[in-house]
């Protein structure tokens, strides 16, 4: 049972931020694409804006790793 709960906790730790990241990027992507259509020089900003929400899933991944390592 403990293994199941640990695995579930790890999955939630990475899964929920992944959904949040996906939602954030789904909003940022079209907005920055529209901006780039008018100002192509915003390409660097586009990279940054799209990559910024990924911090959430990265941190979630770290937490998942910590959960799994501690459980092991």
């Amino acid at each position: 049972m403990n293994i199941v709960l640990t695995a579930l906790a790890a999955a939630l730790a990475v899964g929920v931020p992944a959904l949040a990241t996906a939602w954030a990027q789904s909003r940022i992507g079209p907005a920055i694409s529209a901006s780039m259509a008018e100002k192509p020089e915003l390409s660097t900003t586009a990279i940054l804006l799209v990559a910024i929400p990924e911090t959430m899933v990265i941190l979630g991944f770290v937490v998942a790793v910590v959960i799994l390592v501690r459980a092991a």
């Binding site: 660097t44 990279i47 940054l48 990559a51 990924e54 941190l59 991944f61 790793v65 799994l68």
Partner: protein
């Protein structure tokens, strides 16, 4: 690094202003700015000069259009030692003539394309109703209509029948045939007496009728089609004649037009420099920046041309702000390609720190840690060599090729440390062993390594922030305290988890408590939030571990496909495809994330954007030099 600039003031007799500007343009050293001294009047273009500027701009537009149409915009251009007004006028006439000729040829090409498309449409129609149309001449009192319906528009034909029956009774015949293009060809034959009503009906129904063009003669498609087919044979020949004519024009006038482009741009620049000059009744004053190391070239050039008549003096450093000075990045040859990555951000301000050397070290290192595979590193190196061979020096592609080199090297080094060659293939085939740790198993050590690298990188950024704020002691102290507190937090955490002796914990906590109010006094209430953000920035480097683990796992999965598919051949094909996909991901994702770690986590600590690019007043070149000082004593061809 950002090279040191000197602000200079050039004074001379007013009547020699244009000569001085000519010499300055030849020297291509001075980034001109408006003189700020109060009693000076600004030079304004005379009506004649303004007229000349407009004419030159128009001629330049003609030249650019003609060069573009002829496809000869690139290439050398002989530059005349001196360009007279007669030369400019001659080039303007030539550009206008060639532009008109190229536009005429382009219009002819478009017309031929349209004609070909039209004939193809008729040809399809004719093929569909050949048998019927050949008897068209035997319908003396009939009028035929040729109609094309869009693909999938099947409901229109029954509707058309009903509408025609209602309007003209049974005095018509309607044939339809689907075409290979997806459209439907419809042939309607009606008696001549009701033709007018049918035409109105077709117009009201917005059905696309394709009448036989007058140019092919008569109303009969049967008569017109042979002429059309003959014409179809002529069109490629005519198009080839146009291409030959364009090539001939390019050969005949390309060099002259390129010379004209350089000369017209030069003259426009010279006219544009005049309003940047301050004048009194007898003297002129020009101000601008030159790289401090190139000052002697300016003195020598002006001295040789004007002797004592023109005086150059340096404006003292106290009289100008750093923000006004233009920026020139100057880095060693090996680091220079990385200016491309820094160039994706706005230029750093004069007096701040050029991050290129740090990017040149850390970007390939991060990339290598994320890819971390000898096999992928070797493939990447091969890709870099191909790009290098196929690119020209100074282009972005060449810079990318030269960035790929260190990235591939770091990937190979990291691959050796992690014992990876196309995932676990090196271990299975060649007995490779990880020298540091196995990324697939040692998740925690890899995570700690990534975060430790992040701590070093972010702390370096904070230290650079202190250095860049050296002229503002309070800000520098605030950044210093912030860096110190980050170190104390790290020490405290390491002591808490027994990596460092427990004895470090209490002193670190006490020091933090003391530093906290100092930080708020120096940096304000936002400082604690920024401190937390900095700690978040360090954790953000965990992405190096996350992407690294994902990369090795995908490679391992690719290798296992060989045994999992039943057939070895199918397994190998799938494994290769999977490795290819993983390689593509390994090129894209680490690049984006390594860039992000630099732009957000690292640059955010010290980078001051908003610098003005150094653009010396000089002769026009096809690809403007973006930042490097290029002292030239002779005219440079485009």
């Amino acid at each position: 690094m950002i090279i040191e600039m000197a602000k200079l003031r050039i004074l001379g007799p007013r009547e020699r202003l244009e000569d001085v500007l000519r010499v300055l343009q030849d020297l291509s050293l001075v980034h001109l700015s408006s003189p700020e001294a109060a009693p000076l009047a600004r030079v304004e273009l005379t009506p004649a000069q303004d007229r000349e500027r407009r004419h030159l701009a128009s001629a330049l537009d003609d030249v650019e259009r003609a060069l573009s149409a002829l496809g000869v915009a690139e290439g050398s251009a002989p530059v005349a030692a001196s360009v007279t007004r007669a030369d400019l006028a001659r080039w303007a006439r030539l550009a206008s003539r060639v532009r008109r000729e190229t536009e005429r040829l382009a219009a002819r090409t478009t017309a031929l394309e349209e004609e070909r498309a039209l004939i193809m449409k008729y040809q399809q129609f004719f093929s569909a109703f050949r048998a019927l149309l050949e008897s068209e001449t035997r319908w003396p009192n009939a009028t035929t209509y040729h109609v094309l319906l869009r693909g999938g528009d099947t409901a229109t034909i029954p509707q058309l029948r009903v509408t025609l029956s209602a309007a003209i009774g049974e005095e018509f015949q309607l044939f339809s045939q689907p075409l290979a293009s997806g459209e439907t060809a419809v042939l309607i034959v009606v008696s001549a007496q009701v033709a007018g009503r049918v035409e109105r009906l077709l117009a009201e129904a917005r059905v696309q009728e394709i009448p036989v063009p007058e140019v092919y003669g008569g109303k009969s498609l049967t008569d017109a089609i042979p002429r059309m087919l003959a014409r179809l044979g002529d069109i490629p020949r005519e198009r080839e004649e146009i291409r030959t004519r364009l090539r001939a024009l390019g050969r005949e006038h390309g060099a002259a037009l390129r010379s004209a482009r350089a000369a017209l741009n030069d003259r426009l620049r010279a006219l544009g420099a005049l309003p940047l000059t301050g004048v009194t009744t007898r003297a002129f004053v020009l101000e601008g920046w030159v790289p401090a190391g190139s000052r002697h070239l300016l003195d020598a050039g002006l001295g040789a041309a004007f002797g004592e008549d023109v005086v150059v003096s340096e404006v003292s450093r106290e009289e100008w702000e750093s923000e006004q000075a233009p920026v020139v990045l100057s880095n060693p040859r090996l680091l220079r390609p990385f200016e491309t990555l820094v160039g994706l951000m706005p230029l750093p301000r004069y007096g701040s720190i050029d991050p290129t050397p740090f990017v040149a070290v850390f970007f390939p290192a991060f990339f290598g840690l994320m890819v971390g595979d000898v096999g992928y590193g070797l493939v990447l190196a091969a890709l870099g060599l191909v790009l290098h061979a196929r690119s020209r020096p100074g282009t972005t592609l060449r810079n990318v090729a030269e960035i790929i080199g260190p990235c591939a090297l770091f990937s190979i080094i990291a691959g050796v440390l992690f014992g990876e060659l196309f995932g676990d293939l090196g271990r299975r085939w060649f007995g490779m062993r990880p020298l540091l740790f196995d990324r697939a198993d040692a998740l925690l050590p890899f995570l700690l390594l990534a975060v430790a690298i992040g701590a070093v990188h972010v702390l370096l950024g904070l230290v650079l922030g202190v250095v860049s704020a050296r002229r503002h002691p309070r800000q520098a102290m605030g950044r210093g305290v912030s860096a110190l507190m980050v170190v104390l937090v790290i020490v405290g955490l390491l002591a808490a988890v027994d990596v460092l002796p427990r004895a470090f914990f209490t002193p670190a906590a006490l020091a933090l408590l003391i530093a906290f109010p100092v930080l708020i006094v120096l940096e304000g209430l936002v400082a604690p939030i920024e401190l937390l953000a900095t700690l978040g920035n360090i954790l953000s480097y965990a992405r190096i571990m996350a992407l690294g683990v994902a990369s090795v796992m995908l490679a391992v999965v690719a290798n296992r496909m060989v045994g999992a598919m039943g057939s070895v051949v199918v397994g190998v094909v799938f494994a290769l495809l999977f490795h290819l996909v993983n390689f593509a991901i390994a090129m894209f994702s680490p690049t984006i994330h390594a860039l992000r770690l630099h732009y957000v986590e690292f640059f955010g600590k010290f980078f001051s954007p908003g610098g003005v690019r150094y653009q010396p007043f000089g002769h026009w070149t096809r690809v403007p030099d973006r930042s490097r000082p290029a002292p030239r004593n002779s005219r440079q061809a485009a």
